[in-house]
């Protein structure tokens, strides 16, 4: 076990697969000589050569669509978006072809799209978004959102192994901030299985990505008040681990769904609606959602602080549920 940052764990996972499986290659803008905007693939081109670490033109549909074609020919492409925000330029390809080709024509599309996402450092409206719900709604796509270095490596390897298009959301604000023990050998983290981040008995928080840590800080404050908060890290948004979520909801009977994406039509709505429907009899309070307000992501730090759910917001929400 070595202690790695979240970013190093992603590089480690990608390098592990590229060494193990010649079919795996990386394509994206500036991933070669430059090593990618966040240096995830630093040194990869030297090791794997220019045809397995490909500097693509500034053309997201060609990058992701090309990955699809290469995947259908038997390769295992990993496409990097320079920022998750730019996946909007390949949304058509993903929902129209990648998502539907297996069901429609029996053609699996085993691609991974890496999406540096999330805010917290004044990236502004186009370098901070969390677009997972725009893909989780589309049958045929999978969406993973690791929050720990260990899961970052394991889920990336699982994503590459998976026979489906997998959107891999890597949260930029965790890149260098979060460190953890990561096994050196190859391992997979199951797609679709939640992780119990913190056991508790009074309130469940269902969340993913960077919000796991916001929830953790908030939970500590409530522990002080003698309220025991359970934190379920979804890890995979699609398919999401309904069983684990319902189990936690039934256990605590009070649930807070928390995400960094905007509220209305965010994936939290699906989770909240499902809990409210399937755990109806077990709930002692309405399922509460905390998410960003329905605006673009602001640039100014004071505005961004008001936008991204903060520890205080979560604490307030949890107190409200506790006293319901």
């Amino acid at each position: 076990m070595a202690e790695l940052t979240y970013l190093q764990a992603i590089s480690d996972g990608l390098r592990t697969e590229m060494r193990r499986d010649k079919r795996v290659f990386l394509i994206g803008e500036d991933v070669g000589v430059y090593g990618g905007a966040f240096k995830v693939s630093l040194g990869f081109q030297e090791e794997f050569g220019p045809w397995r670490v490909i500097d693509a033109p500034l053309a997201e549909t060609a990058i992701v669509g090309g990955a699809t074609g290469a995947a259908i020919m038997g390769l295992r492409p990993v496409a990097e978006m320079q920022f998750a925000d730019f996946i909007s330029c390949a949304w058509d390809h993903l929902v129209t072809i990648a998502a539907k080709q297996r069901w429609r024509a029996g053609t699996p599309v085993p691609i991974v799209v890496r999406l540096p996402s999330g805010g917290g450092f004044s990236g502004g409206p186009f370098h901070s978004q969390n677009p997972e719900s725009s893909f989780a709604h589309i049958p045929g796509l999978k969406c993973v959102c690791p929050s720990t270095p260990e899961d970052a490596k394991g889920l990336l390897i699982s994503a590459i192994e998976d026979p489906n298009p997998v959107l891999y959301f890597e949260h930029k604000h965790l890149y260098r901030r979060i460190k953890g023990e990561v096994p050196e050998e190859r391992y997979t983290t199951p797609i679709g299985k939640a992780r119990m981040h913190k056991e508790g008995s009074d309130i469940s928080v269902i969340t993913w990505g960077a919000m796991v840590y916001t929830a953790e800080e908030a939970a500590q404050q409530l522990d002080a008040d003698g309220v025991s908060v359970e934190i379920v890290d979804l890890r995979t948004v699609m398919p999401w681990d309904k069983a684990a979520v319902l189990e936690s909801a039934r256990k605590t009977s009070k649930v807070l769904v928390l995400h960094e994406d905007t509220r209305t039509g965010g994936f939290g709505a699906e989770i909240a609606a499902t809990i409210a429907e399937e755990a109806f009899e077990d709930l002692d309070a309405p399922v509460k959602r905390i998410a960003a307000p329905d605006t673009p992501v602001p640039f100014s730090p004071v505005l961004e602080k008001a936008f991204i759910p903060q520890v205080d917001d979560v604490v307030a929400g949890l107190r409200e549920l506790a006293s319901y």
Partner: protein, 358 residues
């Protein structure tokens, strides 16, 4: 003859291909007499499948809408004939001839038309939205020309693995306006991938004439803007199409990079069954009817390859027999089972147990 003239100077830098003359020329291009009769047969099957499909549609046996490629038989069959067994392609809704030439059995196509269990998509998708991947074809989506980036990705895979294979991607002159065409040609051109772009230029995008879709003399004139060669060929001359496609494919296979081959035809029917094409000038139809691809090739075969009456009749009869038995067999295919609707939204690891994914 183009509808509507542009009132400004046009670039014209694509090579305009010569028609094919003698049998010798064709032999050099790699086709013997048997091949030629096979090409003719494939063109008859292609048209026959679509004509029968039209009848089935009017009989109410085909749900949804119905599209044909009448007038495009030579272009589709000619290109497909030039492809190698390991080459791959993404044909579109005017390219039935590609499926036929690659060996898709007509009864499966009729089953597809009728939404039956034995169609390549098992009733999940309709009309030509299908392909048999074992034959090196990838099923099109409606969105145009969204298959081009996928085709270029296939070419990228061949380049990465250094396989002597070529990807062929089709697009219409109308769809050439969309960004996907540009991004695909940019990636293929900058990396000189083993890719051939085929433009089915049938002069209309639904009701829209070419001057509202592109502002060059030919779509192929744009090839140079992507660092490769453009060729315009008469899409009703199956042998010229074959020769140009063959050149382009072998050039790509040899590492010479992409080529854009534009096959000029006229869409001889409406955009789909419901469209009477009132917006296409009569004389355009009349003029192009004079160079019907099948009639044109039939005459050529008689004049240059001594196709005999009996050969001609034999082929016509066998095609007719094939079509009738295929329709019957397709009609016996069951409706898909609604209880299977949810199957296969996500692929399983077993789905990857194909030659490709080893």
């Amino acid at each position: 003859m183009r509808l509507g003239q542009l009132d400004f100077d046009l670039m014209a830098i694509a090579r305009e291909a010569e028609p094919v003359g003698s049998f010798n020329e064709v032999r050099e291009a790699g086709l013997d007499r048997e091949d030629l009769l096979g090409v003719y047969r494939n063109m008859l099957i292609t048209r026959g499948v679509e004509e029968r499909g039209h009848i089935l549609y009017r009989q109410g046996k085909i749900p949804g809408s119905f599209y044909t490629g009448r007038g495009n038989e030579a272009a589709a069959v000619g290109v497909a004939t030039a492809m190698g067994p390991d080459d791959v392609g993404t044909p579109l809704h005017r390219d039935m001839g590609v499926h036929i030439t690659r060996g898709v059995e007509p009864w499966r196509i009729f089953a597809q038309y009728m939404g039956r269990q034995d169609g390549p998509t098992h009733g999940r998708d309709g009309n030509v939205h299908m392909a048999d991947q074992q034959l090196g074809l990838i099923a099109m989506v409606s969105h145009l020309p969204a298959m081009l980036p996928v085709a270029v990705g296939c070419a990228l895979a061949f380049r990465i693995r250094e396989e002597p294979r070529v990807a062929v991607g089709w697009f219409g002159e109308g769809a050439s306006a969309r960004g996907d065409a540009h991004e695909s040609m940019t990636l293929a051109g900058t990396r000189q991938l083993p890719m051939v772009f085929i433009c089915d230029n049938n002069q209309f995008a639904y009701s829209t004439p070419t001057q509202y879709e592109y502002a060059t003399e030919h779509v192929a004139d744009r090839a140079q803007a992507y660092g490769f060669e453009g060729v315009v060929v008469d899409g009703t001359d199956v042998l010229a199409v074959y020769r140009e496609a063959k050149r382009a494919i072998e050039k790509a296979r040899a590492g010479g990079g992409p080529t854009l081959v534009e096959c000029l035809t006229l869409r001889m029917e409406g955009h789909a069954v419901h469209d009477d094409a009132f917006y296409v000038p009569k004389q355009m139809f009349e003029k192009w009817a004079e160079s019907d691809p099948i009639e044109r090739f039939r005459t050529w075969l008689r004049d240059n390859a001594e196709m005999t009456d009996s050969e001609e009749d034999e082929i016509a009869a066998s095609v007719k027999k094939l079509l009738i038995s295929s329709m019957e067999r397709a009609d016996e295919s069951p409706q898909p089972d609604p209880s299977t609707l949810l199957d296969g939204v996500y692929a399983t690891p077993e789905d990857l147990d194909t030659p490709h994914h080893k």
